[in-house]
Structures are given as structure tokens and as C-alpha cells.
């Protein structure tokens, strides 16, 4: 990885990681590595997640019962833990998404006044 590449990546805002995880598992249960990859891929590699920091976040979400965890078999037939969105998590995702949109809209308006 070149230093230039690193500079173009944006560190995640506090708390947004939770939102991204919820959004990712909404599409279906996934294991940790897959979630990390999906976030990086879907953001066209702009968002840099220190992969390790995913785990405390996942556990936080489990504790709040926004996602649940289940045993499963991965694509290459290995046992893995899959994280699945709960009903409570789905509601939370809606709330968080709204909040985020409002925030982003507000900031955008400030930065680009009409």
C-alpha cells in the first residue's frame, strides 16, 4: 500500500461503523471478514476499516440485541459465525439512517450554500 493510497482513504466517524454493519447484514447473514470486505468494497475502498475494530462493534450490537449470531458454514465449507439483523436492529437501522441523512444533508447545505 502506498502512502498516497492511504491518504485518499477516510477514517470512519465514531458510531458510523455500527450503522454500516447494520446496513451490511440487512442484505443477509454474513461472517466478520465478509462484513469488513463488503464495507470496503461497497464504498469503493474509500472507507478504511481497521478490520480488528469490527469485532468490538459487532459485540456491542449483539449486546444491544440489534444483531444475533449463529453458527453456519461458509462458502468454502468451513464453519463460521454468521451475524444476522434482528427485528429490533432493523428498526434501529431505519432510525440511524434517517439521522445520518439529516446530518449529511445539513452539512452539505452548510458546505454548499444555495
Amino acid at each position: 500500500m502506498s502512502t498516497k493510497e492511504q491518504k485518499e482513504r477516510i477514517e470512519l466517524l465514531q458510531g458510523t461503523l455500527d450503522l454500516l454493519i447494520l446496513r451490511t447484514v440487512m442484505l443477509g447473514p454474513a461472517h466478520g471478514h465478509a462484513i469488513a470486505k463488503a464495507i470496503e468494497f461497497n464504498s469503493a475502498d474509500v472507507l478504511q476499516v481497521e478490520q480488528g475494530s469490527l469485532y468490538p462493534a459487532l459485540h456491542r450490537l449483539i449486546k444491544r440485541r440489534w444483531i444475533s449470531v449463529e453458527e453456519g458454514t461458509s462458502e468454502n465449507n468451513r464453519r463460521a459465525k454468521f451475524y444476522r439483523l434482528t427485528a429490533k436492529g432493523r428498526k434501529q437501522l431505519e432510525v440511524e439512517t434517517n439521522k445520518w441523512n439529516k446530518l449529511a444533508g445539513a452539512i452539505a447545505r452548510i458546505l454548499r450554500p444555495a
Partner: protein
């Protein structure tokens, strides 16, 4: 719990899988397996920290880590026991001193009244723009009173008995109670006669306080009626000491001032009196006031213009204090503006009873026409017997009517313009009692120990910093192994808290011992036990815990952050992290360590200066010329009026006793006076001085004395003659109901001559005659027959005022015996002599004049002694801090010193190198400290005597003392530096 364990085990597996997958991905992208694995781990981040953070999600981690920290902290402390011992001891001294003084503050200022639900109990205080038009006013010392003649906005908490009866009817209170001191009570019927003190209380008193009896029963309303049989309730402590806690005391008969009383019960143990610091032996119903009291008091129960009762009320549940106040104030105002004042009672109402205060401090600047205070620094109810003014012609009541007002027919107590009103204050804060005279010294001491705690904190912070420097490598290793910085700070703070908690625990022991030592010192100076009980209660414990934690944060925070802010690479590479900076350490004057030492020295200077000023004050007071010879004088009080002596009998009694006492072997001469000199008792009289306007009052101190008074006390007679037997006879008849036309002979002091006569010949001068008027019959006034040297009267601090001595012809007296040797040895002979005159007359307040002065100076001695002790402590702590810093510097710079020596530096110059740092720090600290002291000491001004708050001599002496002690503290590490062996030093590390 199980879930958490399961989650953590799964996490390990998850992380392994994750990294493996990432590695696989990388390989697929064409990396070599090794490279792929390395990139995957880097991509993942700090595995340990991820695990830590995840574990924290499953919480209780906090507790778990605390356990680890404590365990680890203990191990670290055990590894350096010297450091731990010094730190804990320092903290124990700091926290202990604070806890000890706080436990006194707690006992005197904060403890709630010893009654049920004290928050509902309110005290009534009156106020007005001008003094009310009253004949008599007496305070029992329960609250601050301001009733000086002519004082604006007078205030107080004594009311008339009719006012109390009226207020008791108001329906805002569920109960009301009134009380007043009894004055001296002569008790017989329980062994030899003794003098005790008591409180008169209304029938509802105990009930309204929610108090219970330890034996028998307490008063009820039926006991407080004029027809009820006289009954008494004992104080628990007095029951134990005087009656041996005999259970059959209930029903026992005693005589108080020759009146038989039946003991009906003992109050519960915690209750010694409602006002802080009060301690009554016995409680009597209000209705018995006349039986035991001065016959002159007979009229006061129905007299609206004689105020003598303190009133408290218990608010009805749900009644706001403002509503109650409006109701009570309305009644008071109505009575003041519309009730009529009875006319003067001729010879019966002889004027104002003196406000009863032990010291002027107790009641603000109260000084009324006649002021009588008890001896000693505590207000002693025994000393509060109302004193009758010497003769009716002095009887212009304090703040009372002027003659012209009296003449103009019936008067109201107050005018509408005066806006008489009552405020209700919480009894807890309103009943100050002895509290107010202790508050100042306590605040000063609290400040001193607060500063000591700061010094202790700075001291330990210095130690911790030195240790943090030594532990840099350890910290670097921890950080390198993945510990978060916050985690390291927490670990270090845990160690600080452990130190301060251990220090606090030891401090409580020190405080317990210290508070006891202070209390026993206090008690040894009191005629009666102190009405304050100290002890370590919950509030004190809470205070100590809070102080300990605060301390830990204060001294721990800087080292902790410094510890966590290690630059990893150099710290790991080098044996000793800080040695990189040691090369230029000599030139780097501003460091935290230096700043801490300067702060300690400065703070110590402040305490030292304060203590120095207080000690100088004590010395100044001790070396005052009191104007008489205070050595080898024995004093005792005796009051024949309590058992019914009257008029001419008194004179004969005193003369008889004086003769017998003079004959005792070892007694050189004997005399008596109304109160002993320097006993805090003071009487002031007002008179008309010829040549001044008719309505202008002049005033002078006055003291009734017996024959030979001046010879016995060795006050030189400068002109004229002493009192003769006929002077006494004349004085006796002039102070009776039918005065003669000849003026009373008086002897005045130099100050009197200077103030009123100037160069005029004082002998034969007559003054103070008055015509008959509503204030009393005509009086012939006084004639000066002699002049004596100035002598101090009631206190050492008070300036000598103009003073007149007159022949004592009535009232209780205090005998003064000049003895050849130890006054205590002849005490039995004295008791025998008194018993021969009357077996029922107890001696009270037996002491020597020097003891008396000691008691007068008690507060000064207590404060001087404690503050000196604390100053010494501050000095030691600051010097230990200085020593610690220099020792650390020397050991840190061993290598540098070795190189210097190897390059040919003289040991002397090495010594100078270290000493210079120490001395510069001490001098900078001392200068800063004196700067602070200059600003702060003015708060001490009210406690000082004859020394300015910014006394240069004290400041210089203190600074010199500190510099010398600091020099000694520097010398030890400096010598160690001088002896550094270059060879050893260079091999070191």
C-alpha cells in the same frame, strides 16, 4: 457470566478465521504466503487491544481490571517499601491533621441539635430600627445579641414571658418552648453544699424537643404552674458524677437556694442542653423562677418590658416557615405598638440585667450598662447570675427610655417607625451559643491543615514523579505490548488511590488520637466539662474518604500522565530513559519536580508565618503589665445571697470571713471583690459628669471591692486614701432603698483622672448626683477619695478604661488571698474557715490568679500551640520534599557527577552544585511564600494582639528558619554527591 466467557472464546476463533481469510485473499492477489500473512495481521490491527475492547463490551471488565490493578499495585508497593512508607506516612499526617480538625469543626459547628427532627425547630429573633422601650433584658447566651445603648438596628432572641404565653397560642406551631439560665444555684441535700447551674424551661420544653427520660419522667405542662410542687430533672452526666447514677434518685429531695425540690427524672444521655456547648446540671420549670431567684425578679413573669426568655417553636407539619413568621411577627408588632408599658417599679426593678456573655466574641459587641460574664473562655451558666447594678441611680436600662420619654405618660414598647419584627430561623443555625467564639480559630486551623495537606500532596507527587521516571522502561514495555495509554494512567492512578487510602486509614488513627489530645487540653482549662463531644462519626468518615480520594487525584494525576507519555524507542533502547536529558538537566530550572518543591516551601512559609504571628500574640499577651501582682493569689467565689443573707448581714459576713481568712498561716492578706480581676467579668456604669449637658451620660468601668483590696493585689495607691469602715457603711445605705445625702466614696484609676479631670485635683471631686425621677429615688452620687494605678479589668486584650472602685456592700463576691507560698496547700484551711462561718456555703471557682489568666488565654494558647505544631509539620514535610528531590537528582546524575569528577572537578564544587539547587529552590519558595503570606495574614488580624499582620520580624525570622532547615536537608544528598566514586559511577548503568 458464562455467556461472556463463551463469547470471548468464540472471539478468538473468529479473529483467527478472519486473519486466515484475509491471508487467503492476499495470496489469491499474488502475494507470497509470508507476505500475505503479514499484510493480513497489519490490516487487522492490534489483536490484544481488539480483544480488550470487546471484553469491555461485556462489561464487568472494569471491576476485573481494578482487581488486577490493586494486585499489581500492592506488588509494586511491596517492592519499594521505603517509598511506600514515606508516602503513606506523609499522607497519613496530612489527612490525619485534616480529619482531627474537621472532627472538631463537626462537633462544634455542624452536628445537628440533639433533639428529634431538628429541621422543624425554629428560633424566634426580634429586630427593630431602635431599641425597644424596656426595663430589663437578659440573654442566656443562646444567640448573638446587639443591644448596646444607642445601637442602630438592635437584635436579640430574648422575649418577655407574656409574649411567650401569647406566641404559644399561635396555631402555626405544634409545640413551643421557652428557656433561660437559672444563674448560680446553691445545692444542698446531696453531701456537702455545691454550686451548680441550671436552666429554667417551660413545661412543653422536653416534649417539644421529642426527648425521653433515662430515668423517671420529664416535665409536662402541669409542672409549669405556680401552684405545682417544685420539681427538677437532672442532666445524665451530672446524675452520674454527683449521684453515682443511683436509680433511686427519682423522688430524692434536694434544696436549691434553700428551696426544696423533688427530683422527678433524668434526661436522656445525648441531651446536655439545646444550645451548642451548653451543659446544664439541672432543669427546673419556668414557674419556679421566682422561688429560686432574686426577689427583684418577682415581677418579671408578668412584665411585658422585661425580656429574658429564649423561645423556640416546632412548626406544624406542612406549615411554611414564612407563614409562621408572618403570624408571629404580627403578634409581636401588635404588642410592641399597642401594648402599654407599666411604669417604673420603684426599688423593685433595678434596671437591666447584664447581657450574659462569656466573652465579647460570643455575642458580638454587646456591652450594656452592666455586663457580667463568667470566667474562662466558655460561657459558663454559673457565671450568668444577673448582677444588680451598684446603686439605683445607675439604672438607666440599656437602650431604654430616656428620662424625658418616661415623663410623657404611658408609653408603648416601640414606635411604628422602629418596625419591630420577628424572624424565624432554624434553631440549628440560630442557636449559636459557644459556637460563635470557636468558629474563628477553627477556620484558621482548618486552613492551616488544608495547606499541610497540599504540602503532603506536593511531596508525594514529587516522590511519584521520581518513581515514574525510574519506571519509564516498565511503562514503555507495557505500551509496546499493547496496553492502552488510558489503561496505564488508570493503573498508575490506582496506585495513588491505594497510597492515599492507606494513608487515610492511618490518618484516622492519628486524628482519633489528635482530637482526643486537643479535647483533653481543652478540658484541662475548663471549670466545667466541654459541652461538645468529638468523635469519628459518619460525616467525619465521609470527609476523610473524600479528602483521601481528592488527595490521590491531586498528587497522582501529573505523574500518571507523565508515566503514560513515554517515548517508546529511546526508553526501550536505553537502560535509563531519562539519562538523555540528564546532560542538560543542570541548566533546566523549570521542571515539575522543582515547581513542586517551591510550592511546598511557599506553603510551609504561609503556615509558619501564621503560627509565628499567633505565638507572638500569645507572648505579647503574657508579658502585658496587668497593673497588679498576679503571683501567689488564690481566688474563690462565695455567694451568701443564695442562702438568704441580706443588707447589713452581708457586710458583717464578709468582714468576719475576711478576718478569719487573714489569720490562716501562710495567708499574707485577704480581700474580696464583686468579680476577680481578669476573669472576663465586667461591669460598666453610667453617670452624669458635672459640666456636661444634662441628658448626656458618661461611663466608666466599675468594680465593688472589699477593704484592703489594693494592698492585697498590690495595686499602688497614688493619691488620697483607701476605703474606711464608714465608707462601707455609707455605700451600703446609699445602695439600699433610702439613700443618704452623702456621696459614696470611690477610688478611681489614672485613666479616669486623665479622661475626666486632666490637671484638676481629683481628690474631693463629686459627680453623678441625680434627682429623684422615674428611674429611681434621688441619689447623692460619688466622691473621689483616692487614685490608684491603672490595672487590667476583665481581659488582657481590652484597653484599660476609666474605672472606679467602690466599697462592695451587696451581692456575691470573690475572695482574693495573697499567700506566702503555693496557694493550693492552704485550701483545706480556707474551707475550714468558711465552714466556721456557715456550713451551707460552698466555695466555687477555686483557682489561682495565674490559672485564671491561663484560662483567659486559653483560646490563644490552644491556637498558638496547634498552629505551631502544624507549622512544624509543614516545615518537616517541605524539607523532606526538598531532600527527596535532591536525593533523586543526585542519584540520577551520578554518572554526570562521576564524569565531572573524573575530569578534575573538585568535590567542593560538586557539593556547591547540589547545594545551589536546593538553596535556590528554598529561597524562591520562601519569597513566594512571604508574598502569599502578606496577602493572607490580614484575615488573622482579629486574633492578633500588639503585632501587625504583616510583621516584618516574624516574616524574616520564619524565612531564616526555613532556609537553615532547608540547608540541612540539602546537605545530606550534597555530601553523597561529593563522595561519588568516578570509577563506580562510570561503570554504573
Amino acid at each position: 457470566m458464562r455467556r461472556r466467557k463463551q463469547m470471548m472464546e468464540d472471539l478468538d476463533q473468529d479473529i483467527r478465521d478472519h486473519i486466515e481469510r484475509e491471508t487467503q485473499d492476499n495470496i489469491e492477489r499474488g502475494m507470497s504466503p509470508e507476505e500475505a500473512r503479514y499484510a493480513a495481521v497489519r490490516r487487522f490491527g492490534n489483536v490484544t487491544r481488539v480483544k480488550e475492547e470487546t471484553r469491555e463490551v461485556w462489561s464487568f471488565v472494569w471491576l476485573e481490571q481494578l482487581g488486577q490493578d490493586i494486585h499489581y499495585g500492592l506488588r509494586m508497593l511491596a517492592k519499594s517499601p521505603g517509598f511506600a512508607a514515606v508516602a503513606i506516612l506523609t499522607l497519613a499526617l496530612g489527612i490525619g491533621a485534616n480529619t482531627a480538625i474537621f472532627s472538631l469543626v463537626d462537633a462544634v459547628m455542624l452536628r445537628s441539635l440533639p433533639v428529634e427532627d431538628p429541621s422543624q425547630l425554629v428560633l424566634l429573633k426580634w429586630g427593630a430600627r431602635n431599641a425597644p422601650n424596656i426595663h430589663g433584658y437578659m440573654t442566656s447566651g443562646d444567640c448573638p445579641t446587639n443591644l448596646r445603648p444607642g445601637a442602630a438596628n438592635p437584635t436579640g432572641c430574648s422575649f418577655s414571658e407574656p409574649m411567650f404565653r401569647e406566641i404559644a397560642q399561635v396555631n402555626v406551631f405544634s409545640a413551643t418552648a421557652a428557656f433561660a439560665n437559672t444563674g448560680r444555684l446553691n445545692l444542698t441535700g446531696n453531701g456537702p453544699a455545691t454550686v451548680i447551674n441550671g436552666q429554667l424551661v417551660s413545661g412543653e420544653f422536653f416534649h417539644s424537643m421529642g426527648l425521653k427520660a433515662a430515668a423517671g419522667r420529664l416535665f409536662d405542662a402541669a409542672d409549669d404552674t405556680p401552684s405545682a410542687a417544685p420539681v427538677a430533672v437532672l442532666n445524665y452526666g451530672y446524675w452520674q458524677s454527683a449521684f453515682g447514677a443511683a436509680p433511686d434518685v427519682v423522688g430524692h429531695r434536694i434544696e436549691l437556694n434553700n428551696v426544696p425540690f423533688t427530683i422527678i427524672g433524668v434526661a436522656e444521655q445525648r441531651f446536655t442542653g439545646i444550645t451548642p456547648g451548653s451543659d446544664y446540671d439541672v432543669w427546673l420549670p419556668l414557674s419556679d423562677a421566682q422561688r429560686i431567684g432574686d426577689p427583684r425578679d418577682k415581677s418579671r413573669s408578668g412584665d411585658v418590658s422585661n425580656w429574658w426568655l429564649t423561645i423556640v417553636g416546632r412548626l406544624k407539619p406542612g406549615t411554611p416557615i414564612a407563614q409562621a413568621q408572618a403570624a408571629v411577627s404580627g403578634i409581636f408588632r401588635n404588642e410592641m405598638l399597642h401594648g402599654s408599658v407599666p411604669l417604673f417599679h420603684g426599688g423593685e426593678m433595678a434596671g437591666t440585667r447584664g447581657p450574659r456573655h462569656g466573652t465579647p466574641a460570643a455575642g458580638g459587641a454587646v456591652r450594656s450598662q452592666v455586663t457580667y460574664g463568667g470566667g474562662g473562655p466558655m460561657r459558663r451558666p454559673t457565671g450568668n447570675k444577673p448582677v444588680t447594678p451598684p446603686a439605683p441611680q445607675h439604672a438607666a436600662p440599656a437602650g431604654g427610655p430616656h428620662n424625658s420619654e418616661i415623663d410623657s405618660g404611658p408609653q408603648t414598647l416601640s414606635k411604628p417607625d422602629d418596625n419591630p419584627n420577628v424572624t424565624l430561623v432554624q434553631a440549628q443555625t440560630g442557636l449559636t451559643g459557644a459556637r460563635s467564639q470557636y468558629s474563628n480559630p477553627l477556620y484558621v486551623l482548618m486552613l492551616a491543615v488544608g495547606i499541610i495537606l497540599l504540602i503532603a500532596c506536593a511531596n508525594v507527587a514529587g516522590l511519584m514523579l521520581a518513581r515514574a521516571a525510574a519506571r519509564q522502561k516498565e511503562m514503555a514495555v507495557r505500551l509496546a505490548l499493547g496496553a492502552g495509554r488510558a489503561r496505564v494512567v488508570r493503573q498508575l492512578l490506582t496506585e495513588s488511590v491505594m497510597l492515599s487510602v492507606l494513608g487515610g486509614a492511618l490518618g484516622i488513627l492519628l486524628a482519633y488520637w489528635g482530637a482526643h489530645a486537643i479535647i483533653s487540653f481543652v478540658s484541662s482549662n475548663q471549670a466545667r466539662p466541654l459541652g461538645f463531644a468529638t468523635g469519628v462519626d459518619l460525616r467525619v468518615l465521609g470527609f476523610t474518604v473524600a479528602v483521601s480520594l481528592l488527595t490521590a487525584i491531586l498528587f497522582g494525576i501529573a505523574p500518571a500522565f507523565r508515566g503514560a507519555r513515554v517515548d517508546l524507542t529511546p526508553a526501550l533502547k536505553e537502560g535509563e530513559g531519562s539519562s538523555t536529558s540528564s546532560g542538560h538537566a543542570g541548566g533546566k530550572w523549570f521542571s515539575i519536580g522543582n515547581a513542586l518543591v517551591v510550592a511546598q516551601v511557599a506553603l510551609a512559609i504561609v503556615v509558619l508565618v501564621g503560627a509565628g504571628l499567633l505565638v507572638r500574640t500569645l507572648q505579647n499577651l503574657r508579658s502585658i503589665d496587668v497593673g497588679f501582682d498576679a503571683h501567689n493569689i488564690l481566688i474563690f467565689g462565695i455567694d451568701p445571697t443564695l442562702i438568704g443573707y441580706k443588707g447589713p448581714q452581708m457586710d458583717a459576713f464578709y468582714r468576719d470571713l475576711q478576718g478569719r481568712l487573714s489569720e490562716i498561716p501562710g495567708v499574707k492578706s485577704a480581700s474580696y471583690s464583686m468579680v476577680p480581676l481578669l476573669s472576663d467579668g465586667l461591669m460598666v456604669t453610667m453617670f452624669h459628669w458635672p459640666g456636661t449637658p444634662q441628658d448626656q451620660n458618661s461611663e466608666a468601668d466599675v468594680l465593688g471591692v472589699g477593704p484592703n483590696f489594693f494592698e492585697t493585689l498590690r495595686i499602688p495607691l497614688l493619691a488620697g486614701r483607701g476605703f474606711s469602715a464608714s465608707d462601707f457603711k455609707l455605700s451600703a445605705s446609699n445602695s439600699g432603698a433610702t439613700p443618704t445625702s452623702a456621696p459614696t466614696a470611690v477610688i478611681v484609676n489614672q485613666a479616669f483622672v486623665e479622661k475626666y479631670l486632666g490637671k484638676e485635683n481629683p481628690l474631693g471631686k463629686q459627680f453623678g448626683e441625680s434627682a429623684a425621677g422615674p428611674d429611681g429615688p434621688a441619689s447623692p452620687g460619688y466622691e473621689i477619695i483616692g487614685v490608684v494605678r491603672d490595672a487590667k479589668y476583665n481581659s488582657l486584650r481590652r484597653e484599660i478604661h476609666s474605672m472606679m472602685y467602690m466599697p462592695q456592700s451587696f451581692g456575691g463576691a470573690s475572695f482574693e488571698l495573697r499567700t506566702a507560698a503555693d496557694p493550693q496547700a492552704i485550701l483545706p484551711a480556707i474551707r475550714e474557715a468558711v465552714a466556721k462561718v456557715n456550713t451551707n456555703l460552698p466555695l466555687f471557682d477555686v483557682k489561682t490568679e495565674s490559672e485564671q489568666i491561663d484560662r483567659l488565654l486559653f483560646q490563644e494558647r490552644l491556637v498558638a500551640r496547634l498552629s505551631s505544631f502544624f507549622a512544624l509539620l509543614a516545615l518537616i514535610l517541605a524539607c523532606v520534599g526538598l531532600y527527596g528531590l535532591l536525593s533523586y537528582e543526585v542519584s540520577r546524575r551520578t554518572r554526570e557527577i562521576g564524569i565531572r569528577m573524573a575530569l578534575g572537578a573538585h568535590p567542593g564544587s560538586v557539593l556547591k552544585l547540589v547545594l545551589r539547587q536546593g538553596i535556590v529552590l528554598a529561597i524562591v519558595g520562601a519569597a513566594a511564600g512571604i508574598g502569599v503570606a502578606l496577602g493572607v495574614t490580614r484575615y488573622l488580624t482579629s486574633m492578633l494582639y500588639d503585632v501587625h499582620a504583616n510583621d516584618p520580624l516574624t516574616m524574616i525570622a520564619v524565612a531564616l528558619l526555613l532556609t537553615f532547615v532547608a540547608l540541612a536537608a540539602c546537605y545530606i544528598p550534597a555530601r553523597r554527591a561529593m563522595r561519588v566514586d568516578p570509577l563506580v559511577a562510570l561503570r554504573y548503568e
